[in-house]
Point group: none
Chain length 278, copies 2
Amino acid sequence: MVALPPDFDVNETLLSRIRIVMVHTTHPGNIGSAARAMKTMGLSRLYLVRPEHFPHADATALASGAADLLDKAVVVDSLDEALQGVGWVVGTSARLRHIPWPRLDARQAALQVVTECAGHHLDVAILFGREDRGLTNEELQRCHVHLEIPTNPDYSVLNVAAAMQVVCYEIRMAWLAANTRPDGDAVQMLLPRVEWDEPLVSQDLMQQFYQHMEQVFRAVGFLDVEHPGPMLVRMQRLFQRTRLDRLEYNLFRGFFKDVLKMTNRNAPHQSSQQRNPR
Amino acid sequence: MVALPPDFDVNETLLSRIRIVMVHTTHPGNIGSAARAMKTMGLSRLYLVRPEHFPHADATALASGAADLLDKAVVVDSLDEALQGVGWVVGTSARLRHIPWPRLDARQAALQVVTECAGHHLDVAILFGREDRGLTNEELQRCHVHLEIPTNPDYSVLNVAAAMQVVCYEIRMAWLAANTRPDGDAVQMLLPRVEWDEPLVSQDLMQQFYQHMEQVFRAVGFLDVEHPGPMLVRMQRLFQRTRLDRLEYNLFRGFFKDVLKMTNRNAPHQSSQQRNPR
C-alpha cells in the first residue's frame, strides 16, 4: 500500500505526474498507438524526443479517441529537456547491458512509480526507446531503474505499442490499489514509506553534479583519460541508485569546489585549470 | 499462490493447454498482432472462428516472428467447434450485460486460468470478440466468467490486439508465479531482483572508508572543524543506504588518495599533513 498524505487527492494528481517519454520514435503510428494505450489507462502526458515524423496522419489515425494526447504532446530536442523537473526515471529495456543496473519487472516498477508520485513532489518519467534498438547505453544510464516485461525467452520482441500497453496497464493496476484500498492490506508492508527530511534533487541538477564530479576527477589526476567511460558510468550508477537529497547534493558540490580550489592553487595538471566548476 | 500437483510439469504442459479464440475478426492485421502478443508471452494455440480474411498478408506482416502461430492456427466455422475439449471458458468483455455474470479482472482471471490448467486435464479457452461489438450475448453466455480489463472510464476502448497483449501478459505472470516460486509468498515477488556484478563491501571496510573520507574533507578545508558531526553523519547515511560494491569502494579510495596526494604537494593546511590515508 502506498502511504498517501491525508489531503492527497490521488484521483486528480497522481497519474498526471507521470510522463511517458518516447525517444527517437521512427513510426508515427506507434506514437498514436502509445497515446491510445496511455489514455485507456488514464495517463495523459506524452513527451516526444526528436520523433522522426510528428505530427503525422498515421499517429492521429491510430490514436483514435486519444488524439487529444497528441495535441498536448511535448516535442523536445533532447532527453535532458524531457527530464526537466523529473525526480525518478524508469527505462524500459529488454536487454541486459554489460554493467548491471537495478532491474524491476513491470509490476514492481509500476508500484514504485505510484509510490514515488505519492511520496515526492517531482514528476516520474518512463522512457521508451527506438523501435529497432531501444534506448542507448547513455540513455539507460540516466535511469534509476530498468523495467523489464517478462517474456518468452524464445521470442521476446514486444513492439513499443505493446510494451506501452502493458506498462500503462500495470500503472493503472497499482494506482487502483493505492486508490481504492486506502486502509491497506498486505501490499502496504511491501512499499517503503518515504519519510525524508530533505527533498530529493531533480535529474537536471544531477547532470550538473556529474559534470562537476568529472571535472574534479580530472583535476586531481584520478580519471583515466584513455578510458574515462567505465569509471564515470560506475559512479553514475552509484548516485542514481542512491538518489541524493538537496543537502547531500549541496555538500558534495561544496566539497568538489574545495578540491578544485586546492588543485588550482597547486595546478600540476594544466588541462584542469582551463575549466571552471560552473 | 497456485497449488500444483507435485508431478505436474508446468514448463511443458500448462501454457500449451490455453486456447486463444478470436471470434469473427474483421481485420487480418489484428490476427497477426494477436499471434505476436501470444508468442511473446509463451502461448501458442490460436483458434479463429470464421475470420473475415485469413490467411492474409497483413496478418503475416504484423505477426512478425510469430508467423508460425498463424500456420498452426485452427480455423473453424463455429464457436462450438473451437470449444471442443475445453473445460473452462473465459469471455473478454468491456461491457456489462443486462444479466450479471461472474466477472474477474485480467489478473484474477489469469490466476484462475493457470489454476484450471493445473488442476484439470481439459483445455481452457479465452474468447476475444469482433472489433466493433465484441462478443454477442449468446457467446458470453457460453463462458464461465467474464474478464474485464480495468480502464479509464472516460476512454475505455482497448483494441483487440492491446487487450490480447494485456491478457497474455497476465497469464504469463501467473504462470511464472506458479512455476518459479511454488513455496513463495507475495513479498518475494515484489522485491527488486538485483543481479550485481560486484560483491558488496563489508561494514568494517566501510569504517575505513569513512575515516579516509573525513581525512580528505579536512585536507581540502571542506569540513567545518567547529561542527564536523552533522555533515559526516549525512554522508554516512548516504553511503549506508547505497551500499557500495567493491569496485565502487576501490574507486572512491583511489580518488581519496589522489586528492590527498595533491593536497600534500600543496599543503596549505598543515594539520592535514600529519595524517596518512592508511
